[in-house]
Symmetry: C2
Subunit: 171 residues, 2 copies
């Protein structure tokens, strides 16, 4: 899969992140382990939004003994900690990325090619206010990716025979 956006995310020194996470985990009576380090490294090396599949692949490239289920559990633990965030994509898959320094922000995914990109942090603020005042609904704009067509895909003839790059993200 290839959900990597062109957008650059500031690469924080990975060792630093790992050290901080290790400390934080120990403070909670939990432990820093091989799989967790590998997952953090994988996420740190790619500025994009990775599916579990991506992470499994990246981790396997370094240490093939790490099992899929450990990747799931590591991601869960790291989300719990707050260093990693997840976004729900259209087809039920979930993408993960290190919590960026700029703070939480919404995402958009292209229905055709599946690319996920970051959106400006305050894009949905007005909408959130409307929802809160009118409907008493508290919006979490960062949690689910907005859906639509990216620039590249909308330039392609829309009526052309569907040529999905990522079949699983279409419907």
């Amino acid at each position: 899969m290839d959900i990597h956006p062109g957008a650059a995310r500031p690469t924080v020194a990975n060792a630093e992140v790992i050290a901080w996470v290790a400390k934080e985990l120990r403070a909670r009576g939990e432990r820093m382990t091989g799989p967790r380090t590998a997952v953090l490294t994988a996420l740190g090396e790619d500025p994009g939004h990775l599916t579990v599949e991506d992470v499994v692949a990246a981790v396997a490239a370094v240490d093939s003994s790490v099992h899929r289920s450990s990747v799931y559990r590591a991601l869960e633990a790291l989300c719990e900690l707050g260093v990693v965030q997840h976004i729900h994509l259209s087809h039920g898959t979930t993408a993960y990325h290190l919590s960026s320094i700029e703070g939480p922000h919404p995402h958009a995914q292209c229905v055709r090619c599946g690319v996920v990109r970051d959106l400006p942090p305050h894009l949905l603020d007005d909408v959130a206010v409307h929802l809160a005042t009118d409907l008493r609904f508290t919006l979490d704009a960062t949690h689910v990716a907005l859906s639509g067509l990216c620039a590249a895909c909308s330039e392609t003839d829309a009526s052309s025979p569907e040529t999905p790059i990522i079949a699983t993200h279409l419907h």
Copy 2:
């Protein structure tokens, strides 16, 4: 599952819809069948947003010989036709509803209880314009449900031990 919103959707005479769909299908060389009628009836009788599971249950209540896979295929065919629309929910499930007369509109789902509600049709118009002009991203606001906390759930003590009504909609 229980994704039914309080919102009322105008109930169109079901027989009318079925007749129209039958005609439309025949015009395309396709056919009106038992399972398709049952699915339409199920969707017509419930103003809410039904998961496949809901539809299967509703259909089974009338005709237990209808198979799950037929429900999936019927829903797909009816979406293709345009009488039925689908929304992607947070956890990878998909909800279906008859295309409402008011036209397409965005949806919001509560992360805690899973309820899906309709949102005002033009809620995201400004956002769509921003995305189009600034990022050349063509938003499809109706396709994925926004995520957040509904009124009822935000009144509940947020820090209370999580009491998910719908486990599969949480994470």
